[in-house]
Every structure is written in structure tokens, then in C-alpha cells.
Symmetry: C2
């Protein structure tokens, strides 16, 4: 381990687990705001929801047909129909005072309230109407074709927990319970900077020795996906004063500041120094690959993440550290929202650095009743095409010497 440490230039590396524990213990929840349920997609519920009505709110018909007393249908068959009297109609949405007596039937639509006295609904197809009487061709048990009040959800039942990511189906549930407003946590405001003298903005002409900045657009997309609001996204020159000024300026109106680049131990890696001077370094150097140079700190209560400048390392460390921190601020109950699938690995994967978490990009192929995880050819942590040509990432634990062909692995799919 000592040798490894020397090689990457850090005096000490923290395990990811310890770094996250320390980080999460210092993250306060954002305040609550009330928003329109219809605009709550992808927001995070801030309170538990208890059903305060019965669902359905009344006994209702599950079919188009006739509300009857089940006993009036007993022993009915196509050959021996029972005859009852049609005494009225109840339409959907109606609150009816109609009362049903023995020997009577009331025409009823799917979803309409069951009249007092009725305990079953005979379907149109199982009956026949002749002037003012109804022929019943099927014998029904009591309760048949009736959705009972509270059958779906009883009043008082807890239905959603705080910390839930609101999707279409949760919005439907909240709406069906009559909610038009809902409490969620406010979105954290986030500034993003990429530092590097080599960086050009997309759209500029390519110059010798320069490359295009892809980290700001990528991290911005990820921040949005993880529930933050990007208020600023820029590149900064590798100049200590320039970086410090931007940092302090952004600290004035951001809750989180994300840097990519300038966080390692090269001559122009000023960020560790700046954060030490202006605030506090919580962790610098994490035993993960890619992602080792990550720095986590605070400046004036603003959370600072310095991610590596190489795009894949920035991507992986966002997914493992910054993204979960944003979701912690939002009160999410699941901090890593990625979908996991089980697969078997298609080939041996040796790893060289024991003591490090390793993140392996894989493509997922379906073969009959199994998913195969196929390692994507790796050329370095700068290669963005290894992300676009992969479906997800496998974590290899620090004590694992690698993976053997056929091993079961959990693939965390790239977030969508």
C-alpha cells in the first residue's frame, strides 16, 4: 500500500466508505417547499403520506349492468332465468338516493355508486332487459362485481414514505387521494467549474495542444439528473487567483460547488491549497480507481467537490460521491439511484492495486436466461467513448484480486 500511495503522490488515502460517512454526517437537509403535485415528477417527497380517504371512496360497480340483491339471482341460468323489475338508473358521478328492494334492479355503469339495498351487479352480458323487467341468466354470490369502499386503500393506511423519488405512478396515487400540493425539499443550487489551460469551449476552433471541455456539460447533465439546479457552468484558467476568486464568488449563492481538474498533486493543482486557505478539506485522496484525487471540503458552509479532470474519473466520482451527496441534501431514502442488474462476467478481469475500489465499465448482453457483462476495452480514465459504449459499471472491492470469468456481478446501469 505504501508503494501505491507514493506512486499517486498522496500522503494518505481514505476509503470511500469512510469519506462518505464523514461527508454525509455534515450534510444538512434542504428546507421544505410546497409544490403542485402535477409538477412534482422527479422531486423527492419530504413527508410521509397517509391515505386520508377510503379508496374507492364508496362501494362502486366494477361493471356495466344492473345492481341487484344477489339472492334474486340464486339458481338463475340461461335456461332458468330469474326476472326482476327495473326501477331506475344510476349514472357514474351521481350521488343517488335510490333504494333497492327485493325483486328490483337498477341500471348502473362501471364506477357508479352501488345503491342502498343492492349487494351485487349482474353484467349486461349476463342479463337481458325486456321493457320494465330484467332477465337474470347467472347466479351471483353477494359482493359480485362490486368494488368495496376502501378495498384498494383503507383510510389511515401509510402509502408513501418521505424520501421517495416521485415518478408517474406516485403522482397518480397522490392525485387519486385528492392531493394537489405536496411537500418536497428545495433543489440545491450548484456551480460547476472546469479548470485547465488546455480547455476550449465546444464550438471554438481546435488549437494545437488544446482539447474541448466536456466535463462542464457532462457534470451539468448529471447534476440535473440527480435533482440539483445548475446556476453556473464555466471553465477557469489554471491560475490560483482566478480559481480562488471564482470559488469565493460562487460560494455567495451556491450550496454546492463542483470543480473538475486541478485537484491532483501536479504543479498547477491549486485547489487543495485554496480550499485549505479559505475553508476546510474534509478528505483529499480516496482509495478508488478511477477517482483517487477527489477532494471534498467546505468553504463558508458551501460543500466543495473537486473531481479529477479526466472525464471518466469525473463521471465515476460524481456517481459515487457528489450525486449521492446531492440526494442526501434532498432527503432521498436511496442515495445511489442507479438500477442494478445481475450478470456474469464474460472474461477474467485482473486488478493491479489491492486496497483500491476499482470501477469497471461493462456492456451488458442478454444470452438466453442470463445477462453477460462484457468488460469494455480500457485505455485510460480519459476515454469518454468507454462510457458511451458501455451500459454500466461494476465495483470491484478492495480485497478482491479481480474477477474470474463466470463470476456473478452486480452491474449498476448508467443513470438515465
Amino acid at each position: 500500500m505504501v508503494n501505491k500511495l507514493r506512486k499517486i503522490g498522496f500522503s494518505k488515502l481514505t476509503s470511500l466508505e469512510d469519506a462518505l460517512e464523514k461527508l454525509f454526517s455534515q450534510i444538512p437537509l434542504n428546507p421544505i417547499e410546497e409544490i403542485d403535485v402535477r409538477k412534482s415528477i422527479n422531486r423527492v417527497l419530504a413527508c410521509d403520506i397517509v391515505c386520508d380517504i377510503d379508496l374507492p371512496p364508496f362501494d362502486r360497480s366494477a361493471m356495466d349492468g344492473f345492481a341487484i340483491k344477489a339472492e334474486d339471482s340464486f339458481n338463475a341460468s340461461p335456461k332458468t332465468p330469474k326476472k326482476i323489475k327495473l326501477v331506475g338508473t344510476i349514472e357514474i358521478g351521481e350521488s343517488s338516493n335510490l333504494k333497492l328492494n327485493k325483486g328490483e334492479g337498477i341500471k348502473i355503469s362501471t364506477g357508479a355508486p352501488i345503491p342502498e339495498g343492492a349487494d351485487a351487479v349482474i353484467k349486461i352480458e349476463d342479463s337481458e332487459i325486456k321493457e320494465k323487467s330484467i332477465n337474470i341468466y347467472v347466479s351471483l354470490p353477494p359482493g359480485k362485481n362490486i368494488s368495496k369502499k376502501g378495498e384498494d386503500i383503507k383510510k389511515g393506511t401509510p402509502v408513501l414514505s418521505k424520501g421517495t423519488d416521485l415518478k408517474a405512478e406516485h403522482i397518480a396515487l397522490l392525485a387519486s387521494l385528492g392531493f394537489n400540493k405536496i411537500e418536497v425539499r428545495t433543489k440545491p443550487k450548484i456551480s460547476i467549474f472546469s479548470s485547465g489551460d488546455e480547455l476550449l469551449e465546444p464550438g471554438e476552433a481546435l488549437q494545437p495542444g488544446r482539447i474541448y471541455n466536456s466535463n462542464t456539460p457532462m457534470i451539468s447533465a448529471l447534476v440535473n439528473l440527480y435533482g440539483g439546479t445548475v446556476i453556473r457552468g464555466e471553465t477557469v484558467k489554471d491560475d490560483k487567483d482566478a480559481i480562488k476568486n471564482r470559488l469565493l464568488e460562487a460560494a455567495g449563492n451556491s450550496q454546492v460547488i463542483i470543480f473538475t481538474g486541478g485537484t491532483s498533486v501536479g504543479t498547477k493543482d491549486y485547489l487543495p491549497e485554496i480550499i485549505n486557505e479559505s475553508g476546510m478539506v474534509l478528505t483529499h485522496g480516496i482509495a478508488m480507481r478511477p477517482g483517487a484525487p477527489v477532494l471534498i471540503g467546505f468553504v463558508e458552509n458551501v460543500l466543495i467537490f473537486c473531481l479529477p479532470g479526466t472525464p471518466v474519473a469525473a463521471y465515476v466520482s460524481f456517481l459515487k460521491i457528489t450525486g449521492p451527496a446531492i440526494r442526501k441534501i434532498l432527503g432521498c431514502s436511496v442515495l445511489d439511484p442507479r438500477v442494478e442488474i445481475l450478470a456474469t462476467i464474460k472474461s477474467d478481469v485482473p486488478v493491479s492495486g489491492l486496497g483500491f475500489l476499482h470501477y469497471l465499465r461493462v456492456k451488458v448482453e442478454k444470452k438466453e436466461n442470463i445477462f453477460l457483462a462484457v468488460p469494455v476495452k480500457l485505455k485510460g480514465s480519459g476515454v469518454i467513448s468507454s462510457l458511451t459504449s458501455s451500459d454500466g459499471i461494476i465495483e470491484i472491492l478492495p480485497h478482491q484480486e479481480g474477477l474470474k470469468k463466470g463470476d456473478f456481478v452486480l452491474v449498476k446501469l448508467h443513470p438515465e
Copy 2:
């Protein structure tokens, strides 16, 4: 089958496959617009992307260290170091005219361009600087610690295909290639109506015989997720003229109109009639459960979907029919974007209607090296809680008599 048809009141049911084939053959692609790459998250690429630069654009250093001629390091070891002369520095982002000769070294940062004449980089940790000379402690092969021009992606390589859903990693790739604008298909404008006299808006006081409208909020959320723009979302009374007026009005500025409710064969199900009068019914009645009453049609070139009023049926038929149609308009290469996972089913699932596709809501549990799909207790297609308490949906094919405990199944996870 005849008996089944009679029971649900349709004279003829179409297979989902046939309905989709007919539908998709009539859907034109939306026009192309050019947008900022940074705002392209979740949009759909409208053209193939070929890399028109080499990535990296120049030979660059993969380490902080010294650019050297590899031959100057041959046979070097900590005990037998080789000594060369320090002749300059190349910073990152610099375009340098420095030329390296045998016996010389140039200080170089990660990402900086390799000077002419150099063919390897010795890491800082494997060397030592003494005034104007460098001690080399390791023997390097030519090419060591150099990322060659075009190593990640060669100029002219196809990198992304039209129809790709743009995620963070695609945005990073496009930015790294210098793109600031990108071609995508315009989003279809979509109007949503829920019909039913029983419907109350969330926030209103509950009244006898009435229920809250959950379909408009749910379908709106799904439309956004699938790439459409909701321009209108309302409830309509079960009144033929009212429904017809809204439909014709919305047809003036929508590309797609979605109704929920009013599409079956009850007395107040006016939609089939209205669409027959004002346009063309493509399909009415599909052999799927839930979802059988779905109607697909056109009014003045506007695509009309009438989905069932029961929320789960509306949800499932959106995922299987309306959602893929929206993605067809957008030119997506994958029409159903849901993530699939393999699981084994935890208990027998009998199905009653052969000839129908059946959709089963399941919860997914991880057990050691397997995912278990646990059927969610079903009470009917109106029960929204069966969606919020499930993770995905299994499709049971028309010829399958059901599932046996332990069968392998594909679970399509609810879209996020």
C-alpha cells in the same frame, strides 16, 4: 375466443403486434431542430455523428514527469540510474516548439503535448531532478505514458447513431468532439383529456359518488418522460358535444391527443363514435389485459389515443402503445425505453384468457445471485397502489397458460 369477445363487448380484437405495426407505419418523423449540446439531455439525436477530429487531438502525456527518448532510459534502475539534461518545460494547454534530442528531457504535465523527438514520459516518482539534470531510475519502452493522437477515437470513426437517447455521457462525448450544436427532432405537442362525470380535480372537496382524476397528472408525467410536451391537460364531462368540441379544438394545435376513459362500450362511451365521425379509427379493441378498450385513430392528421379510464390500464397501455408512438415520432431507435431485468417468478401465475397478452405487476427482490419477481396482489386494473408497490411489469404472451413458480421472466422496470 368468441365467448371472451362477447364478454368484453368488442366485435373484434386486434393483436397488439398488428395494432402497433399499423400505427407505426402511419407515424411521420418530426422535423429536425438544432439545439445547444448542453441542453440536449434526454433529447433524441437526429443524425449519425462521425468523429471529425482525432481524440486526443495530439500525442499527450498521460503522467506528470519528463518527456524523454525511451532509449535514454534503457537499463536504468534505482541502482544504475541514467542521467539526462533538463532543457525546458511544456505546460498543459501550450503549443510548444521545443524539440528534444538524445540525452535531453523536458518537464511535462499530464495532458500536455509531447515535444518532437520524445517517445516516452518518465513519471516524477520514477525520476529525480538535480539542478539541470534528471536521474532516470526505470527503463521505459518507447510509447510509455504517452496517449497517442487518435488513440481514443480516430478521425472518421462513427461514434453515435441517430435515434440515440442523449444522456450525460453522450453529451460529454459530443462536447469533447467540439460540438456545441446538435440536431434533434422537435418534441411533439400533446393534449391530454380525462373524461368522466365522476372526476374531481385534486384539491377539490370529495363528493359522494365522485373520485379524483389521477389520469391527467399521471399521463402528463409519462408524456414528459417519453419526450413529448404537454400543452393541455383537462377533465371533460361525459357529454358527446363537449368531448367532440374539445377534441376538434385540441386538434388545431396538437400532434397527439390522449384521452382516458370513455373508450369502452358503455352507454356514455362516446369517443369511438366521435372519432368515426370526425376522422378515422385505426384500431379499437386490443387483445391485452389490462388495456383491451384502447382506441387508436386519427382526426385531421392528429394521432388520437383513447386509453381506458382505470389508472393501471391507462398506465400499461401508455407504456405499450402511446409511449412508443411518441418515441417513433422522435426517431428513437429503441421505442420501449424501459430497463429489462431477468428474474425468476416466485409463485405460480395462472391466467384466464388465452389469446390475450397479460401484464402482471411484480415487485423485484434480490436473493443472493438471483432476482425474484413477486406478483403484486391484484384487485383490479383501477388499483394505483399496485403500481407504486411494484417495480415493474411482466408480459405473459397470448399462448402462455400462465407462469410456473421458478420460470425465468423478463421484468420491464417502471420508467424513470
